[in-house]
């Protein structure tokens, strides 16, 4: 339990009625001055068939992810007057995870980073078209123009932290769909806890932790750069995003099933007073007041 921490995205009120998260839920939303828009996206589809391309992004997925990202940035930049286009800053962040699956082929592909590469390519094209200054792309200074890699957006920590639990699960459920259903529904909760392994609730909190850290950094950025608009695009994975959305956005049982399609995700906003808000599938998410004392 992360008892000492207070998270930024703490929902309240009735659960939302959402059955599936798609790429259309990443709504192009222009932040006002001193505001932040955060995208949380699942990585693009990758190739799981054994062979040379195992773990690489699917070519068609690359094309569609690029087109969607391009449309997102085109829409944002088009809403800005020519003289306002130096007020927007964009940062692209991604999980540093390599593909690890039980009894799987070793793989160096990093599907979130590779998805973020596509987002950056689309962003740069859009910036050129709309005359957005190069300095607006914050990764240029932070990470030589590459995605900012972070560990807290990884998918599942159990493969690295507890091979014993993975063996216990594969012995009982095999390496196919049953394994994943058992993990997602927390069917072996007692054993998992006894072995000190992260479960769905802890993963949901870890992603909230990651976004809380991002919100703090955004707040510092706005203090140092008054009147700017900030977009922070985060790429993670199904196993981390789905629990977060269930627990902290939709408000349903974290061990239930909420599909998030490849390259799908959500858009969250933080206003100029530091208050989070979001509207997903025309439903408003109510978050606890984060402006107290500010």
């Amino acid at each position: 339990m992360r008892e000492k921490e207070s998270f930024f995205f703490e929902r309240e009120g009735e659960p939302l009625s959402i059955e599936r998260i798609t790429v259309r839920d990443i709504q192009p939303t222009l932040p006002a001055q001193n505001e932040t828009v955060m995208v949380l996206q699942r990585n693009a589809k990758d190739i799981r068939e054994a062979g040379d391309e195992f773990g690489a992004l699917d070519k068609k997925a690359v094309e569609t992810t690029h087109a969607e990202a391009r449309q997102f940035f085109d829409t944002l930049f088009a809403e800005l007057e020519e003289e306002e286009r130096d007020t927007i800053s964009i940062m692209v962040v991604a999980s540093d995870a390599t593909l690890l699956i039980q009894n799987g082929q070793p793989c160096e592909h990093r599907r979130a980073i590779e998805t973020a590469d596509i987002i950056i390519q689309a962003l740069k094209e859009s910036m050129v078209q709309f005359n957005v200054p190069e300095s607006s792309f914050l990764n240029s200074d932070s990470s030589n123009g590459e995605p900012i890699a972070v560990s807290e957006l990884r998918d599942l920590l159990m493969f690295e932290e507890s091979p014993e639990f993975v063996k216990y699960m594969t012995d009982k459920y095999g390496t196919g769909k049953e394994f994943w259903i058992a993990y997602e529904t927390d069917a072996e909760k007692e054993t998992r806890i006894a072995m000190g392994v992260e479960g769905p609730k802890e993963i949901a909190d870890r992603v909230n932790y990651a976004l809380t850290v991002r919100a703090r950094i955004a707040s510092e950025y706005h203090k140092a750069n008054p009147d700017t608009r900030l977009v922070v695009w985060n790429v993670s994975h199904y196993d981390s995003i789905s629990p977060f959305i269930k627990e902290h956005i939709v408000g349903v049982d974290v061990t239930g099933y909420l599909p998030v399609e490849h390259s799908g995700g959500i858009t969250l906003q933080i206003d100029d007073k530091g208050q989070p808000h979001a509207t997903i599938q025309n439903q408003k998410v109510t978050f606890k007041d984060k402006t107290y004392g500010k």
Binding site: R2, E5, D141, S142, S143, E198, N208, V213, I217
Partner: protein, 179 residues
């Protein structure tokens, strides 16, 4: 930053130039103060350091055994772990990937004493910097105590002693790599 360097966030003893020089064998290192957002700085005693050898470790020996042999049972170690509401003060160093391997060796990452972490730091000018560092990604990692603020002691083990061991570890690592 040159293309062949990376930003390493050194905290605890590793925010000090003398320690870094002993670890990587170079004294002119570019570094500036920074803050690692979302990680708390804590101290482990030997009893908190992993006592079981990692299956993938280069040798069947635990981190606890290694540090107890190199120092003694009163050894204390800085470590970071996630906490959304705090930050760790340290130094953002510019190192080559080869020099960072000296840091990984010293921190016994292959032996499982800590984990590789990629994160975001902020420098004195307010710039966001993508850094590599090491610590724990688990909030439940056992520690003796945690520290707030910038004014902590860099050295919690006698300075001469730790610098001497760091030099020795680096030279042994170079010898091992030659073979």
């Amino acid at each position: 930053m040159a293309n062949n360097t990376l930003h390493y966030f050194g905290y605890g003893t590793n925010r000090d130039l003398d320690m870094m020089a002993a670890m990587i064998g170079r004294k002119e290192i570019i570094g500036e103060p920074g803050r690692l957002i979302g990680y708390e700085l804590c101290i482990q005693k030997t009893e908190h350091i992993p006592g079981k050898p990692l299956a993938s470790a280069p040798a069947p020996v635990s981190p606890q055994e290694i540090v107890t042999k190199a120092f003694d049972e009163n050894f204390e170690l800085y470590i970071i772990r996630p906490n959304a509401n705090v930050e760790t003060y340290g130094t953002i160093w510019q190192l080559t990937p080869e020099e960072y391997e000296f840091v990984r060796e010293w921190e016994l990452l292959e032996f499982g004493m800590q984990e590789d972490i990629k994160a975001m730091a902020i420098d004195l000018k307010g710039n966001i910097v993508n850094v590599v560092t090491h610590g724990s990604l688990s909030t439940s990692t056992p520690v003796d105590r945690c520290i707030m603020g910038d004014t902590y002691e860099d050295y919690i083990v006698p300075k001469n002693e730790i610098l001497e061991v760091a030099e020795r570890v680096r030279l042994e690592y170079i010898e091992r790599m030659k073979n």
